[in-house]
C-alpha cells in the first residue's frame, strides 16, 4: 500500500478528533483485512469516486461511539440511538472531507457520496473494490482511562 493512500486518512482522523472533540488519537499498526465485515459495533460507510474509486468505513465499538457522541453534543447518552447513528454519519462525512482535502495535495481528486450507517457487529459491507482492505486503528481514552478504538477501513481500485 502506497503511503500516499494512507496518510490522508491518518491526518484526517487526527485533525477531526482534535478539532471537533478535543481528543488526541494514537494510531496503532495498520492491518490488512481479508474480510468485508465491519470492525466495530457502528459503522459509517461512504463510497468515493473521481480519480479513484474506493470505499471508506469509519467504525467504532459501542463505548467509543457513545463517547464521541457525548463529547460532541455535551450529552449523556448510554445507548446507540438515532442521534448517535446520525452523529457517526456526520463524523464519517467530516473525516472523508478532510481526507479528500489531503488527497488533493497529491493531485488525487475524490468526490464523496452521502454516507450510510450500519449498526451491528460483523456486518458484511459491500466494498466496491477488491480485497484486501486496509484498516487503520486509532486509539483514544474514554472516561478517564479506558481505551477505545476507531477503525478507518478503506480500499481503492488500482
Amino acid at each position: 500500500m502506497d503511503v500516499k493512500y494512507m496518510n490522508p486518512f491518518i491526518i484526517a482522523a487526527q485533525v477531526v478528533f482534535k478539532t471537533m472533540l478535543g481528543i488526541e488519537v494514537k494510531m496503532g499498526k495498520p492491518i490488512l483485512k481479508q474480510s468485508k465485515q465491519t470492525s466495530g459495533d457502528i459503522t459509517g460507510i461512504m463510497g468515493l469516486a473521481g480519480d479513484q474509486r474506493g470505499t471508506l468505513c469509519v467504525s467504532l465499538r459501542k463505548e467509543g461511539a457513545l463517547h464521541v457522541y457525548n463529547t460532541l453534543m455535551g450529552d449523556r447518552c448510554n445507548e446507540i440511538n438515532e442521534d448517535v447513528i446520525d452523529a457517526i454519519g456526520e463524523l464519517t462525512n467530516i473525516i472523508s472531507g478532510q481526507a479528500r482535502k489531503e488527497f488533493e495535495k497529491s493531485n488525487i481528486n475524490l468526490k464523496a457520496a452521502i454516507p450510510m450507517v450500519v449498526v451491528g457487529k460483523d456486518v458484511e459491507t459491500n466494498f466496491i473494490t477488491t480485497l484486501p482492505i486496509v484498516s487503520l486503528p486509532f486509539y483514544f481514552s474514554v472516561n478517564g482511562g479506558n481505551e477505545e478504538v476507531m477503525y478507518l477501513d478503506f480500499s481503492f481500485e488500482y
Binding site: M20, M73, N93, G97, R100, K101, E104
Partner: protein
C-alpha cells in the same frame, strides 16, 4: 435575527444551533436539504442562511445558486459550512455568491466569527 440552518445531519444542525445560542441567537429554523429550505424561504423572513453542501434532494451549491437567482432572497447572507474542503469547491461556492465558507471540522470560535460578521452586515442593512 432569524437564521435558517440547512443540513441533512441533525447532529450538525444541533452543533450550529448551540453556537448560535452562545451568541444570543435563538430564532432558528431548520431544513434537511435545499429544497425544503427554499420552501421555508417562500413563507418566512430569514436574516442569515447557514447551509451544508452535500445533501439529498437539492445540494447546498444548487440551493445557493437558486437563492442568488431569486430577487427576494438573493441579499440574505449565506454561509456555507461543509466537509467539502477542496479548493475547487471553495472557489465554486464563492463564485456562486457565498459570503463565507467554513470547512468542517471547525471550532465554535470560527463559526461564531463568521456569524458575527454576517450579523454586522444585517444590522448595517446590507443583507436581507
Amino acid at each position: 435575527m432569524k437564521v435558517l440552518v440547512v443540513d441533512d445531519f441533525a447532529t450538525m444542525r444541533k452543533i450550529i444551533k448551540n453556537v448560535l445560542k452562545q451568541i444570543d441567537i435563538e430564532t432558528v429554523t431548520e431544513a434537511e436539504n435545499g429544497k425544503q429550505a427554499l420552501e421555508i424561504l417562500k413563507n418566512e423572513k430569514v436574516d442569515l442562511i447557514i447551509s451544508d453542501w452535500i445533501m439529498p434532494e437539492m445540494t447546498g451549491i444548487e440551493f445557493l445558486k437558486a437563492c442568488k437567482e431569486d430577487e427576494n432572497i438573493r441579499k440574505i447572507p449565506f454561509i456555507m459550512v461543509t466537509a467539502e474542503a477542496q479548493k475547487s469547491s471553495v472557489i465554486e461556492a464563492i463564485k456562486s455568491g457565498a459570503d463565507n465558507y467554513i470547512v468542517k471540522p471547525f471550532t465554535p470560535e470560527k463559526l461564531r466569527e463568521a456569524i458575527e460578521k454576517a450579523r454586522a452586515k444585517v444590522v448595517q442593512g446590507l443583507g436581507g
